[in-house]
């Protein structure tokens, strides 16, 4: 432990406060009893698909395309997930199957 207990506690508080500011701000700015501006309602409707796209890319941000295996395990596993989802349509099967396949790829093959 590098910091004192009190300093650690303050650091945890600071991280928590920062996080909570980002979580609570929209709900404080646009409270439940008031109708939010039309622009905000529009954004609330169109943001989710964009954010989920961002999350997919975010999960892959540390994958190197230049170094071996050039993102191949990730590409193959994502393809498997998509194919399972398209043809079987069972979310848990797609995620479970894709994850096991990915583990096989990175532990055994690559």
């Amino acid at each position: 432990m590098f910091l004192t207990p009190l300093q650690t506690l303050i650091m945890i508080g600071a991280v928590a406060l920062g996080t909570m500011i980002t979580r609570f701000t929209p709900f404080i700015l646009f409270p439940d009893n008031k109708k939010p501006p039309e622009l905000v309602t529009y954004l609330g409707k169109v943001l989710p698909p964009a954010m989920m796209g961002l999350l997919v890319v975010y999960c892959l941000k540390d994958v190197s395309l230049s170094a071996a295996p050039h993102g191949l395990p990730e590409a193959l596993a994502i393809l498997a997930v998509l194919l399972l989802q398209k043809f079987k349509g069972n979310v848990l099967l797609s995620i479970g199957g894709g994850t096991v396949f990915y583990m096989l790829l990175v532990q055994v093959i690559f």
């Binding site: 590098f2 600071a14 500011i21 609330g44 989710p48 796209g53 941000k61």
Partner: protein, 231 residues
């Protein structure tokens, strides 16, 4: 007349399958976090406290570094706001779904992370479950997985002998599936493509600090294309 406790238990039963991918990913990453904190000399009290009150996966990993350099809480606060800025957009997206849910709202907001946002936004509550209990169950379970994972990693991380390498891909797969399901709907397609393109562009220019630049690009594109995307 069902009691509140019964309603919650029933909702939890119905919600549980939706959280299994999060359970898998959070256990692996939570355990890894507990172990990492332990190696820096921060035992279960500290790692569990951080997970329980900050509950912010990637920022907690960043904060490990901050706990091993000179004491600077202001830097921690600012960095935390920046790393977690994406929550702002989750909040805007959930305003409508979490409307009129009274006391539950506090917990929905407190527990709003990447995974809980994506699952709660995508999953439809079954007809016989009140939406607020359903969302509450998902949010609470996701939160518990993370705190529990941290505790396990911190207390007995060394005992895990089976190779978990690649298991956290469950979260990537979760986002891939939910994203795919979103863009299957025609009206979501443009926005989904904007999200991926913005993130890839930001990744190319800013490297791993892609979140805020991506958010700005997404916002700009969605605002510029408002007329076309709406129709």
């Amino acid at each position: 007349m069902k009691t509140r406790k019964n309603k919650l238990l029933y909702a939890a039963k119905k919600a549980f399958p939706h959280t299994i991918p999060v359970l898998t990913g959070f256990m692996v990453l939570g355990i890894a976090y507990g172990i990492l904190m332990e190696t820096k000399g921060y035992g279960p009290i500290w790692s569990v406290l951080m997970s329980a009150i900050a509950f912010c996966g990637s920022m907690q990993y960043v904060a490990i570094t901050l706990l091993t350099v000179a004491f600077d809480p202001l830097q921690a606060l600012l960095l935390s706001i920046m790393v977690n800025a994406r929550h702002l957009f989750y909040g805007i997206s959930m305003l409508d779904k979490y409307k009129g849910m009274g006391k539950f709202r506090f917990f929905f907001i407190f527990w709003l992370c990447d995974e809980t946002f994506s699952v709660c936004y995508s999953a439809e509550p079954p007809e016989d479950v009140e939406p607020k209990y359903f969302y509450f169950a998902i949010s609470a379970m996701d939160y518990m997985y993370w705190v529990l994972g941290t505790l396990i990693g911190s207390v007995m991380g060394g005992l895990i002998t089976f190779n978990t390498k690649g298991m956290d891909f469950a979260l990537t797969a979760l986002f891939v599936v939910l994203f795919y399901e979103q863009i299957r709907k025609k009206e979501n397609r443009i926005s989904g493509v904007i999200g991926v393109l913005a993130a890839v562009a930001a990744l190319c220019v800013f490297g791993t600090n892609l979140v805020i630049p991506s958010m700005i690009l997404i916002l700009a594109a969605l605002l510029a294309g408002r007329k076309r995307i709406c129709s």
